[in-house]
Symmetry: C2
Subunit: 367 residues, 2 copies
């Protein structure tokens, strides 16, 4: 299959998202195509599992393109997503004598991408990074848009920076080794793009039905279309609002309440995408209660989330704890919790006038 | 004395540098003038010495302007300029529940400014920072331009980010409590601006003679002119090259060899400005050896450095160690050491064709 390119049209630093089977084999050439010269130092940051599957291919592609590459394997669970792990990447950057013209390549899922991106953002006040996501979640969301960061004991992603990659390279064949549950979780973000802005994508997901739930049942053509369409949706929002000053907040659809689920259940109980799916269902219930969208729209959203094999029932959480947790969310502005609420398939609004009673009743509906 | 304003004309984020006696008392009002609303949370980051002298005034000004301010005192020696100390600022940001619209104010010297700035750059992917420098060095250099960061065991300022302040507020009266040696060290950066781009400033410094060496002998009018002129020089270079892609490198005049002195003698033996003075003298000797400028220009530079009471004789360093250290400097590009060399009073060039023999002979002349 040919490679397809979506451009993230940022004024200061536009960059391509290249998508297609076997894209990984062209990694080195693509980097050279950006203007990096032969002999440029490249630090390839990955985790042990991804390294075992794709590390050799990536390194070979870099070497064949005459880049001076070496690999750093880090622990990349959510609980290792800390300033200390970023410090290990900095140590490697120093040991390898990375210069301002050098490059970090993040090969892996969202945690690797966030940490390698943040390390690049903060080494020598910012060196280039290329994102090579290997999970569906990272492909359709985290790798595009320049958000990087790590967790603070007080909350997820509180420490970080905006640092746009120079290139995002998405090779769907690397999904072959992804656990099925993680594949399904990634599909939640795809559904999100449909609900917030792409009714055609949502219709296509609906038409696909339960084949959404597994890479084994999804055709290569549909997967490619999903990846391209999701990347285009993300690119459009990011280009319009690089630093999350306004519009970009719509990408947080399902995330405000999703973070609450992750926090209160303990990170790891639900995968991020699973929590986002639950968050979208709850946001839909709030919309319903506020008369912002119809029961049939909420039913359509629910059907697609079900088809993707994602959880539908909220865990039994104390509503008081949920409300307290919402107040601590970093998307709070001036003390008001801001929700991204759907007003139809393909349309959302940002609202900070959701009453406590409405939240409580929506939660009750989700149980 | 009236406040004077220099604007740093960055396209995306222009900001004012406000200079004048008693400026500190207007801190809160100036922040409100930027558009921060009543009730905005402000974390005032400072060190114990500065807090004792100016903390109460700053906090009072913030409170009177209806800002919700509190103070964090950090240890701010060069050896505490680490990711761990930035972590303490992050902890305070979390404890105070800083939001995206909140603000960090850095009140202190370069170390406070670098760390508070870096903490702001990396909290919630970047919140606003206001720089209130209290040392001459920070006033004329570090506080303007958005360079923030901390040290890595491998070298100074290797970890950091570009993060422009929203405002720089310079109150010369806060120099009253600065140790004289630190005042003199700051003057080295002022002399630098004269040599790299402002012959009139250099002439004025020459005319002032030994009164440069102490705040007690320097008139308030001349000090104000020096601060305004230095800020204007820095602002101009920063506006032309925000991320140090080219022109801004001229600000490193005296710094390449200055860093070598700091590294090899151990940080703390020489103050940064003292090392920069030695670095300028050595760079001048290289220029002389390469026929780039005249012996009389070098003599003028030396006379002003002497008038400021700065050291003139290089420490006895092994030339091999100096050369090895230069290779590790982060201003190396593709293996070539780049020097900022004067070609006349007010003019510099960036050269990467300085031979090892020339460096050795220049060092010998400096001893």
């Amino acid at each position: 299959m040919d490679l397809q390119t979506i451009r993230v049209e940022l004024q200061a630093s536009p960059y391509p998202v290249i998508i297609g089977s076997a894209a990984l084999l062209s990694l080195g050439d693509q980097i050279r195509g950006l203007g990096f010269k032969a002999g440029t130092k490249v630090l390839l940051v990955t985790n042990a599992v991804v390294e075992a599957h794709y590390g050799a291919s990536a390194l070979q592609s870099l070497s064949e393109a005459c880049l001076d590459a070496s690999t750093l394997v880090i622990e990349a669970g959510e609980d290792q997503k800390t300033p200390a792990t970023v410090g290990l990447i900095h140590d490697a950057a120093f040991a390898r004598r990375l210069e301002r013209g050098s490059l970090i390549v993040a090969l892996g899922g969202g945690v690797v991408g966030d940490m390698a991106g943040f390390a690049a953002a903060t080494w020598l006040r910012g060196i280039a990074v290329v994102q090579v996501p290997t999970t569906l979640l990272a492909m359709v969301d985290a790798a595009i848009g320049g958000k990087t960061g790590v967790n603070h004991p007080g909350g997820k992603n509180l420490i970080g920076a905006f640092h746009q990659p120079r290139l995002v390279l998405i090779d769907p064949s690397s999904l072959a080794t992804l656990p099925e549950r993680e594949f399904r979780a990634g599909m939640a973000e795809v559904i999100k793009y449909g609900v917030i802005g792409d009714p055609e994508l949502l219709a296509e997901l609906e038409a696909s039905g339960p084949q959404l739930a597994s890479l084994n049942t999804l055709s290569a053509e549909l997967l490619q279309r999903i990846l391209v369409r999701s990347a285009a949706a993300k690119a459009k929002v990011v280009a319009a609002d690089e630093h999350e000053g306004g519009l970009r907040a719509i990408l947080n659809y399902g995330h405000t309440l999703g973070h609450v689920v992750e926090t209160l259940c303990g990170y790891g109980t639900y995968l991020h995408g699973e929590a986002v799916g639950l968050g979208m269902l709850a946001a839909g219930e709030i919309s319903l209660a506020m008369g912002l969208w119809s029961a049939s729209d909420q039913a359509r959203q629910r059907t697609v989330i079900a088809a993707a094999g994602l959880p539908l029932a909220w865990p039994a959480l104390n509503p008081d704890a949920v409300l307290a947790c919402l107040q601590g969310d970093k998307k709070v502005r001036e003390g008001q919790v801001r929700f991204v609420l759907p007003t139809g398939i393909g349309r959302v609004e940002i609202r900070s006038d959701v009453s406590e009673a409405t939240i409580r009743s929506a939660l009750a509906s989700c149980a």
